[in-house]
Subunit: 338 residues, 2 copies
DNA sequence: AAGAGCGTTGTTAACGTGTGCAGCTCTATG
DNA sequence: CATAGAGCTGCACACGTTAACAACGCTCTT
């Protein structure tokens, strides 16, 4: 096989390798006819440029880094999927998309301008703060998605979790619920806080009391939703509705309800957050909040591309609208329970 | 800021850049003391090697390509997740993991030995046959996962879909079912065929007749499972059990059953294939077949690493055991329906 | 005392590409 | 006819790294 270089082409065309380089890069310096001739030869030889060599001289790696907090426990499949899909849609042929977990790295040495033209950080936890600060400090084109930052000044695209949580809890209240519990997300995740804040905001806005025993910890996975609901069901006084901080936990919670011989929403209402692919197909279909991860990823990748082109970055925080999706998991009740 | 090279280090250490290169690569030629001195300087300067330059001279890209048939419709989130997780676990710091959809490429020119040290193809459809043949032809280290190949000779790691389908249908029969329908997967996917074959094998082995109107087309997504089940429910003679070719479709199918005011498994039994993360949390928990995608990916990545190291590839097909997972979506019936 | 051999370091070229500058040819202009 | 300039092409070097080979000083052998 062996690989063909511009020098091989040059020899066949009877020109210097410089001319070949310019021809293939569509330089206006080259005579249109020779240009065509050279391109024809390159095609016939199946020439493909050596990106290592090009990178070396141009000081561009053609690598896009897409970094998640972790690729192990904690990142849901749907989240990964939407993020990759959104970014991949934008970058097409020009760049390599490199997917990694921040926690895969012992040292960040190898994350630098030589190896990456730009970085997209899908931040899910405060634990990647050091990475983000490192990236900001080495002055590499950077966008941080999903998690709002306070300290570092970067391009920051995030879903408006708090107002989403507010709306779904407001929805419960509007359906007559006043005994509302929350199963919280993973400790340390900013989204956990934002959703809790939205919950509290709605409760206080509508003057519904929050009861401590109806606030239970979760960690965003199915099992924790299941366990959390069991805790709630075992309470002497049960809530009439439960706000689960994501759909995975809502699924686990509904499972727990069913195991007890109770039904959703007849005996207890459940709402989630995320609008996972399967949420509309659950029994009952889940009322939840749609978080536009794919769109955020797409926009983030486009921003990053423009930073690289223009060699200049903007820094600002953009919130993306979250949307209440009403389905069948909430019962309308008329009187309060007490 | 600016990036530091081995020449900078050389200047500070008062040696030649060659010596620095050797020291950092732990060459036995270098005096241990100078070696330590050079390493210390490198550390203090936060030196990181320029991979483009290294790649150019060593003819290694340090890139692993993980290719899916498509990153658009057709690849489920769970599948993508498990595959990435499995591969990422193995490669750690040494390589970049580049994730792409085969259908993102107009031409395969840029997929070559210069840009990739090795390729992992997560094949889901016959449509990526040209890509696989191309890869085999340019003689790049290659493993093809998930879909069994007949023509091309490569390292091919696949789940034993047929025997999995056989077992889950056998399970239905052992529970007394004889009126069994199938909702098939996406046309053109090898897995669709294998699961259909397993279904037919079980039916014929136990001498249960297959009825044409109980074979309905699907395409592996939720909606098609939903639609498929509606077709079956509208039939004058309904089956007592339905084998859905994956869990997504099973979820859609169960949804359709519920919408009709019927129940699973009391009125109709449903089984799936894949054992998705959410399958155990559905209502009812789904009886299905576990397909070890993560394990296949991990083993595939390890094989590929060893090919690259040893500069020599093996070619064989390895089947990975699929496992029947019995849950609550199948009813035991005593007499047949006719 | 001369040479062989070892341990350590430096010189130089190479990988494939892009680019500043010089140089060529040809035409237009005075 | 001389010259300027436009249009095109080539020379030579650069990017940062590795590696073959040469070369150095030193010790040991004969």
């Amino acid at each position: 096989m062996s690989s063909v270089t511009i020098k091989d082409i040059a020899k066949l065309a009877g020109v210097s390798h410089t001319t070949v380089s310019r021809a293939l890069n569509d330089s206006p310096l080259i005579n249109p006819e020779t240009k065509e001739r050279i391109k024809a030869i390159a095609d016939s030889l199946n020439y493909a440029p050596n990106y290592s060599a090009r990178s070396l001289v141009l000081d561009r790696s053609y690598n896009f880094g897409l970094f998640f907090s972790t690729l192990h426990k904690g990142t849901s499949a749907g989240f990964l999927y939407e993020a990759i899909k959104g970014v991949n849609d934008v970058i097409k042929d020009q760049f390599n998309l490199i997917v990694r977990g921040i926690d895969d790295y012992k040292s960040f040495h190898n994350v630098n301008r030589k190896s990456f033209d730009g970085l997209i950080v899908m931040s899910q936890s405060a634990s990647d703060q050091p990475f983000i600060e490192y990236a900001a400090q080495i002055d590499i084109p950077l966008v941080v998605l999903n998690r709002p930052l306070d300290s570092v000044k970067v391009m920051n695209l995030v879903p408006d979790d708090q107002s989403g949580a507010f709306r779904v809890v407001e929805h419960l209240i509007s359906r007559g619920h006043r005994d509302i519990a929350i199963i919280e997300g993973k400790a340390g995740f900013k989204s956990t806080e934002a959703r809790r804040d939205g919950f509290r905001e709605a409760m206080s806005r509508y003057e519904v009391p929050v009861r401590d025993e109806w606030i239970v910890r979760g960690n965003y996975d199915l099992e924790s939703g299941h366990a959390g609901m069991i805790v709630l069901l075992d309470l002497p006084e049960r809530p009439t509705a439960v706000f689960c901080s994501n759909d995975d936990m809502a699924l686990g919670a509904i499972k727990a309800v069913t195991e007890r011989g109770l039904r959703v929403p007849e005996d207890i209402s459940v709402v989630g957050f995320d609008d996972h692919l399967f949420s509309s197909f659950m029994t009952p279909a889940l009322t939840t909040v749609r978080r536009p991860i794919e769109e955020i990823s797409r926009v983030g990748a486009m921003k990053l591309l423009s930073f690289i082109e223009k060699k200049q970055v903007e820094k600002s925080t953009v919130y993306f609208h979250t949307e209440l999706v009403i389905r069948d998991s909430v019962k309308t009740i008329t009187g309060g329970t007490n």
